[in-house]
């Protein structure tokens, strides 16, 4: 027989802590509330201690981690609110609804700050799609779910990433990111302050959805989880659209003291978090909560994760005003309780008190906090054993190229992003398919650039350096689009933290992100942790997803990756080294996932990034593109594609041909420059001591690459394009 506290996912010492807080045994309601709140998902008990490694302040930071979303200043009295959130386990069980409700949840976090949501991104990881129908089913459902929710609610899905790797065979990852815009003086927080103020509930009725979903989200998936399938929540984007409009209108009236979405752990978390941030206490009556089903128990009402619900803390006496606005939007608002200052969260059922706990004790501030043991995993040393001499050079590079283009990691993702309305609201200036999405900010000259990035193979081979690269790569994508990176949100997806080698990955990664964010001056303003992403067989590769925002002072000066005109000169910035460890080439062509990952030198990185941004701003560049998976060869091809323009490339080198083409050395970009401006660009490069190579010219309708006088690649763009665009579509049937 398992102990009651074990059933809600707690351990003996945690139970003892509850006894201390209450000075008595908890009843079932209370125990479940502690269970969900002290899960990893809500309490960050394994991760909080590590967050000190993150830089979270800066002159642009208006709101750092700790609220529903972070906010950074972009000038003109405007801020950008953003956050990323995982919905991995729900998506593994019911891909459509799991992904849809992930999107719905993250949108609520944004408008709960008072910001208007303007863009969505998504970062996806799946297993081996070429081998598994199950993976196809998951991808299909997840993409439809994201599309179903985002399209209906009318927020454009402007970017994201997807990649495939055996480590996700048992655990797909679905992380959704939302970005909003807000005026500085309109920022709202989840504070329950002002004794006597009313707690009002708005939105969908409460049902038995996602029962135990929060603690469920923190245990390893086993065969048993099949039985917990009723944990599926269903999203209602139409309801949420009304909620957005109603809440943003309400926030204008000044009647709202605090606002909080109901996410993981539902009412329980909304109550204790707002109480803790505010006056300290709250009293609510579960009988007042609108319900979808008859006969619900207080505990079911308190931990239900029904979607599309919000809690408002309303200034006493102004409830009618709130009700009126909410009803105009076809929704209902009811008073479910009030703010107190006795520090207790009191749950009543009518007149009867059914739960009474110190509010803060449920919240992260009262939850346990762990410093775990860690140890370097066994694989870590082994995988480093690699040198490029071990592998044979391909005989036919045209063939190798085609094989690379067919890799689902390299192939065009348009099968995905064409299912997303990425244009609604007519602010999307650079659409999916370039390095970062660019949106204009109406009423200003400004734009913002958005991206998500993470190469999890790197993070597996070297969590700390790989995580640094994730941040640097995100920054490069922003820079290549003409934006100045200003902040990140991080989605940390890892395995079981109770295993010391997993915890080591987690810790190393956080340290790496912190270091990179300090170097690149992009503070962490929000984030999400998802642990236990493993099955009996296997843990996922460490996957710290970096969502980054940048500002363009003049949105007209955005830049895209595609070559623009015949005759433009193609220049490679940075240095190519023998760094094919951990590369897509090594994995795809040679079936190896090993080696030292490329070395990231921040001094060079910053120099190159600064150069690219300045030359874009000075309108010297026709196109810019960072080099990532697949190296120079793939970056060149991506430049050729959109306008079906070829290129003639000529390289002299001492390196192996496959290394030149596919090495993933860091801090590199490909830029194209009008012939008349090449001198100016070269002068600047020389002056700033940036290594560069003149690669060739945009020309014709084929890509030709000659290395040391030998033509190794000659492919019509049309053929390249058909392969690259068709690969994912073809896989999906």
């Amino acid at each position: 027989m398992s102990k009651p506290y074990e059933e809600v996912g707690l351990i003996q010492e945690e139970y003892n802590k509850i006894l201390e807080y209450l000075d008595r045994e908890p009843n079932e309601l209370e125990l479940n509330m502690y269970g969900v709140m002290w899960s990893e998902h809500c309490s960050y008990k394994h991760s909080r201690a590590l967050f000190k490694h993150f830089p979270t302040t800066g002159k642009r930071v208006l709101q750092g981690p700790g609220e529903n979303a972070g906010i950074v200043d972009i000038g003109d009295n405007l801020g950008i609110a953003m956050k990323i959130e995982s919905h991995n386990h729900p998506s593994a069980i019911e891909p459509y609804q799991g992904a849809a409700t992930g999107v719905g949840g993250i949108i609520r976090d944004i408008f709960a700050m008072g910001a208007r949501p303007i863009a969505l991104l998504n970062s996806l990881r799946f297993g081996e799609i070429e081998k598994s129908d199950r993976v196809k089913y998951l991808l299909e459902g997840v993409v439809e779910g994201i599309a179903g929710y985002g399209n209906c609610i009318g927020i454009p899905t402007v970017g994201g990433e997807v990649s495939f790797n055996a480590s996700y065979n048992g655990n797909p990852l679905v992380n959704a990111m939302c970005v909003g815009v807000i005026e500085h003086d309109k920022i709202h927080r989840g504070n329950a302050s002002g004794v006597g103020n009313s707690i009002m509930y708005v939105g969908a009725a409460t049902g038995r959805d996602g029962m135990g979903g929060a603690s469920f989200a923190s245990v390893e998936l086993t065969e048993e989880s099949e039985e917990k399938r009723s944990a599926v929540q269903v999203g209602d984007p139409f309801m949420e659209k009304l909620l957005i409009e109603a809440c943003l209108e309400l926030l204008e009236t000044g009647s709202i003291v605090g606002i909080q979405d109901l996410g993981a752990a539902g009412l329980t978390s909304a109550c204790c978090e707002t109480a803790t941030r505010g006056e300290g206490g709250m009293e609510i009556d579960v009988l007042k909560v609108p319900r979808r089903e008859k006969g619900m128990l207080p505990v079911e009402v308190m931990i239900s994760e029904s979607q599309e619900r919000m809690v408002l803390i309303v200034e006493k006496g102004r409830e009618a005003e709130v009700t009126e606005i909410v009803e105009r939007w076809g929704l209902h608002a009811v008073i479910i309780g009030k703010v107190t200052d006795n520090g207790r969260l009191i749950v009543k059922e009518g007149d009867k008190v059914v739960g009474d706990m110190p509010a803060f004790s449920l919240d992260a501030s009262g939850a346990p906090k762990y410093y775990k043991d860690y140890e370097v995993p066994e694989y870590y040393k082994e995988v480093k054993n690699f040198s490029s001499e071990e592998i044979n050079e391909p005989e036919d590079y045209n063939q190798t190229m085609l094989e690379m283009l067919k890799s689902p990691n390299i192939a065009s993702k348009e099968w995905i992003y064409k299912q997303y309305d990425h244009m609604v609201r007519t602010n999307t200036v650079v659409k999916p398919g370039s390095d970062a999405a660019v949106l204009r900010i109406r009423g200003t000259k400004k734009g913002i650039a958005l991206t998500t990035d993470c190469n999890s193979r790197y993070c597996y081979l070297n969590p700390k350096e790989g995580s640094k690269i994730a941040v640097a790569e995100a920054a490069r994508n922003i820079i290549a689009s003409g934006g100045k990176p200003i902040a990140i949100t991080d989605g940390l997806n890892f395995g079981n933290p109770n295993k010391p080698d997993r915890y080591w990955q987690f810790r190393e990664s956080i340290i790496g992100i912190g270091e990179a964010c300090r170097e690149l001056d992009t503070p962490v303003i929000s984030g999400n942790v998802s642990l236990y992403n493993e099955t009996e067989m296997q843990a996922i590769h460490p996957t710290p997803i970096i969502g980054m925002v940048g500002v363009l002072e003049d949105v007209e000066k955005n830049c895209t990756i595609d070559f623009k005109e015949e005759g433009d000169v193609i220049i490679l910035l940075g240095e190519t080294k023998d760094e094919i460890g951990g590369s897509e080439y090594l994995a795809r062509i040679h079936g190896l996932e090993k080696g030292e990952i490329p070395f990231l030198n921040f001094a060079l990185e910053k120099k190159v990034q600064k150069f690219v941004l300045e030359t874009i701003e000075d309108e010297l560049l026709q196109s810019a593109h960072d080099l990532s998976e697949g190296g120079m060869a793939i970056a060149l091809i991506e430049g050729c594609m959109n306008r079906t323009l070829g290129a003639n490339i000529n390289i002299e080198t001492k390196l192996r041909k496959d290394v030149v083409l596919f090495s993933e050395s860091q801090s590199r970009f490909i830029i194209t420059v009008k012939p008349s401006l090449v001198k100016e660009v070269e002068d600047r490069l020389i002056k700033q001591k940036i290594p560069y190579t003149l690669l060739g010219k945009v020309a014709g309708e084929a890509l030709t690459i000659t290395i040391n006088q030998e033509e190794v690649i000659n492919m019509p763009i049309k053929q390249i394009e058909d392969t690259w665009r068709g690969a994912l579509k073809c896989l999906m049937g």
Partner: protein, 80 residues
């Protein structure tokens, strides 16, 4: 043989679509409608097959593809 498969959302699963349609029916003059649930009606035309075999195969199809048993229930009838 013709088969009608009925796929409905499980009772415990929210049906926002049904709720919205109930609201719409109310608005256009049918307050008598207290609840709406929206499901699927899937009509299959089968080739030559015995009743037992049809029974069994249709059940399998429902479990595997036609219904998502995580959130849906199903039933079916053979028609001839």
């Amino acid at each position: 043989m013709k088969v009608k498969v009925y796929v409905t959302l499980k009772k415990s699963i929210a049906d926002p679509q049904g709720t919205a349609i109930q609201g719409a029916l109310k608005k256009i003059g049918y307050p008598i409608v207290e609840e709406v649930r929206i499901g699927k009606l899937i009509e299959l035309q089968l080739g030559e097959i015995s009743v037992e075999s049809a029974q069994q195969q249709v059940k399998e199809m429902c479990e595997k593809l036609l219904a998502n048993t995580v959130i849906e229930d199903y039933s079916f009838e053979l028609i001839d």
